[in-house]
Assembly symmetry: D2
Homo-oligomer: 343 residues x 4
């Protein structure tokens, strides 16, 4: 199968290439990039020298599926012709994640190029929308923070275990900010430093809110999401807090019951694990897993869930390949078997 | 004035020495350490070679004030003779922070060596207990996490701005775990990694709870505190969340009013700043400041306060020197003028 | 094929397990470890949970090949019974690397348990000793620094391009020091810090000297090797310096000729690349490649060669699997196809 | 005394401000910056909020001394009017370091704005040129790498202990590359990575060569200098290698004699220490010291000297203040007493 990657030169695009190069059912036949057009992939990314391709401005050749790692707005504009031609696409930008064009306009400060496509787009968190994937033509790959936060909270929200007063405190490695240059990703500024950002609102908030709302439409949600920048390259740890609902998990067996409920929820999900001890981001380095650890603060009866992912794998490129596998009927784990790199 | 430092060989003790060496009113005349006894300070810590002293097992000579950077239990045992002799002491351990001997026994898993002293001990967060400092003989220096969390929340708690349903998400550099060896502070395990710990309860929780309770005894508090380990050496960022109380800060001017209230609260505190933009831990590196940034999540009406300190300075040794200055009538900032190291 | 890993609980042993779990011709059937005996592999290393085995004190069951990641001395003692039973072994310790028992005694401060085996042991740098591998029963996997240094210098030494006055300045990530605890690998001590160590001599020196001597017995070698500790987890960069021999590479075409000579030397080596630009350790993260970049200092006519490897892969576990493949007649790259993780 | 800082907005300029704010004889009265002109210093650098000044495009007011932290070429152009007006200047750029206009043109790819000033400029490594400082009007502050390398080698070169075949392997934190953005200082590219750069030549080479040549004009020098980028913010470790000259330091007492000779050389230099154990860059963090550790490789008779500095202090701003102190007759250590921050 021939696939193309739009904007292979960012971190998500390069990670897609790294994974797909070793996928047994896929041949990458076209990769694009603006500033690097005309260069060999291996000149820009020596670790991808095995990918014997020249970067072009526009996708070329017959493609059976297209991934886009372009920025929002541009991504939709470049993908729509493929969608209209019936070629399946997986969009790693934020362009098709929100169902509401008004919300899109508010958070992305732009008119959506084709709001009519928002409803049909499948929100590509496989664990929640696996049934919609086979045959889908337009999949919106989730944001990195939403991936960790939604997987941490979905079981509790689904079961009505908590009130909707949720705090999500996200901690991300710097690669989440991409390969573009800015003072806030300049080594000497970020190293030996931690900070919160997006205090006035972050684009990943509406995704979290929309998807948890769809998990349990009867729950009234009031979600605060605050992201933080951590001096490491890869990884997101999401610490989620919410009061238990009245009567939920009463009795001394609370934590055990909670863990059972979570394990049950993710029983058929090969990439989600509910471990016995609190997760560390390093346990997912380079790997498509999500570790979800629920517990209860015994002093307050508050639910705490901590989840860990690699923001570039389960939070971006690995998730996209997982989606592709389900869309096309391949085994869900195909090409994603790599264990985490430790230490 | 002659001062002694018990256990100069840990990070807090070494940082005390670094600060006090340059304090114009102080002469360090005795430093202790168990495993390093007999060695010159400069052999163990080349950066302290200016301190021309031999480390001894027990404090020696006439001392006008004693700092202890020993572990809990041992610290109280070693300090009590000084206290009984009327020599002022500042204890950086947790031994005299809690007012309740029962709470102490529960959290520190030990009987307190002299519970009768708990009430008289001054909780050494100068900003809240400055009036009790002059002439005090026994000061309990706060824990590092409580310092950041209490300073972040005290103004809101005092004014009844929030309900007591508080979440404190703490993020600390690794030096907070001390100089003792463990797999969880081994470089290859911690680097490029973030994790939560203390999910069943952390000793700094009762401090936060006790002190916020004393700030506003009429507020019912339900505090969840979750600490995280960050791959950096120094710094704590505390992200605090609580619902606004009914009717608090209504109207579009909410954030401005909130900032005014915080600035007012800390008007006479030279080391607390309410900055115009969200703080970064690096802005306090090596410095005794605490940056406190309050804001309101516009979508939920939740108060968010982010604070930053250097865990070894305002969170330990610098705070201790600040306390000493006030206890003895020196200018509060004496010896603590060093600006943060940037970048 | 059933293989065992002695001491799976160190970093090299865990990395072996990570690679071998996905090797199509291998089944790991026994893993040992002293302090962790009785635990499941996944309890100690969550990323290896797929390896459904209990750690035992001694190797168990029928094994077709044994890897040892034990420390020196113990490694030889545990491996000799397998060797005597005719079971092929690959030793990642230093026990069989040196040909001279006297040199071993001097550098390892221990009598060798069986000096008679030193001559028969194959020094397991596949690129130099591939011909000796098929059918070998005892392979001594190289040290991490020697791997980078020898591959950087072998072509120049072989061709007599340089005088033997060689300086090797090695820079290693901290995982090279292993999983054992020490102040020199304590996060707060190593982070934001660079230092040289082993100034009086390092055990990897005699390996470098022995192997370059075997590459060109007629060259008189005078090698200085100085290792440095770098605040990162994985990777070794070796910067090697030597004066060009009289008359070598004269003329403006020097650098081009040099590169050709190096590419020629490594033409049949799938894991060694001579790139067009200076290598970075990150380009080999998690990958078995070695990047070798030779150039000439135009001001002094000195040869400079910079090489990069992942110390735990090409510098340890990956090299061991590469050796196994050649010993047993599998394709040399089998199970080692993983691309470097970037960024 | 009123001083101005040209380009306070880079790392060297900001570090100058941090040091000078606390210098008892200095008042900073003017700071310049291009892109930040019009902003308060504290808006750009919160840690410098104590400096109550607005950044301007041009220096303003009466100045008794001017520091320039501008880039080369611009720096000379902006400083020459002050020099002509008889106002003492200290230039942190490379514009006045080289004595030869031809060398300047070659390495800086620019015609020097006023070659006639090159001879009169004092090379501002106080330890070598202290006698030329009092009353000097134009001081060229050394480069960061040359500071560490020259101090490491000067005693050996002076005494003719070595042949001139010198290798300097420099390892620098990323702040040495400045505050300007580039992919090579982007966090995710530099973190967990080590690389060599400047393999075709680095501007700091001619400084090292010139100054060591002036230390001993009769020694024929053949110096290779290779810089490396290390994933840390501050610090330079220089590892220097050279063969001992015939007959130098013969006998078993070699290392002791060598240390004596080095201690003797630096006897009157308050900022240079010859420690008893190999130095670490962290031992100079935020401090103006240079640690110089000479030893002999017993296997080859090669001299090895390892030196450590903080590149922004002794390698830039601290050195500049040290020069100012000597130029103006203040105690050499005034304002530079801060101990290193550890850990």
């Amino acid at each position: 199968m021939n696939v193309g990657i739009l904007n292979v030169t960012g971190y998500a695009g390069a990670e897609l290439a790294r994974i797909l190069v070793r996928h047994p059912e896929v041949r990458i036949t076209s990769v694009t990039g603006r500033s690097a057009a005309g260069q060999r992939v291996g000149e820009v990314f020596p670790h991808l020298a095995a990918l014997d391709l020249t970067i072009t401005e526009e996708a070329e050749g017959e493609l059976d599926l297209v991934f886009s790692a372009l920025g929002h707005k541009t991504s939709a504009e470049r993908l729509l012709p493929f969608v209209e031609a019936g070629i399946p696409v997986i969009d790693l930008s934020g362009d098709f994640r929100l169902k509401s064009a008004a919300e899109y306009a508010k958070w992305y400060d732009a008119e959506h190029p084709d709001p009519s496509r928002l409803e049909e787009a499948v929100y590509g968190l496989t664990e929640l929308h696996r049934d919609e994937m086979p045959g889908a033509k337009l999949v919106a790959n989730p944001g990195c923070y939403p991936t960790g936060a939604i997987l941490a909270l979905a079981p509790a929200v689904k079961q009505g275990l908590i009130s909707g007063d949720i705090v999500v405190d996200g901690k991300s490695g710097v690669s989440g900010a991409g390969r573009g240059l800015s003072l806030s990703t300049h080594f000497s500024e970020v190293n030996e430093n931690v900070s919160a950002y997006g205090l006035d609102g972050h684009r990943h908030y509406p995704e979290i809110s929309q998807e948890l709302g769809r998990v349990n439409p009867s729950m009234e949600l009031s979600i605060t999401f605050l992201p933080h920048l951590i001096p490491m390259t890869r990884g997101i740890l999401s610490s989620c807090y919410a009061p238990l609902a009245n009567g939920a998990l009463l009795g001394g067996s609370g934590r055990g019951e909670l863990v059972e409920l979570y394990r049950d929820f993710y029983r058929d999900d090969p990439f989600v694990t509910v471990p016995d001890s609190p997760p560390q981001t390093k346990q997912t380095l380079g790997n498509n897993g999500c570790l979800v650890y629920p517990t209860i603060d015994p002093r307050t009866g508050r639910l705490i869930v901590v989840s860990a992912i690699d923001n570039l794998v389960k939070g971006a490129a690995g998730q996209a390949v997982q989606n592709m596998n389900v869309m096309l009927g391949y085994p869900e784990q195909l090409g994603l078997e790599q264990l985490a790199l430790y230490p």
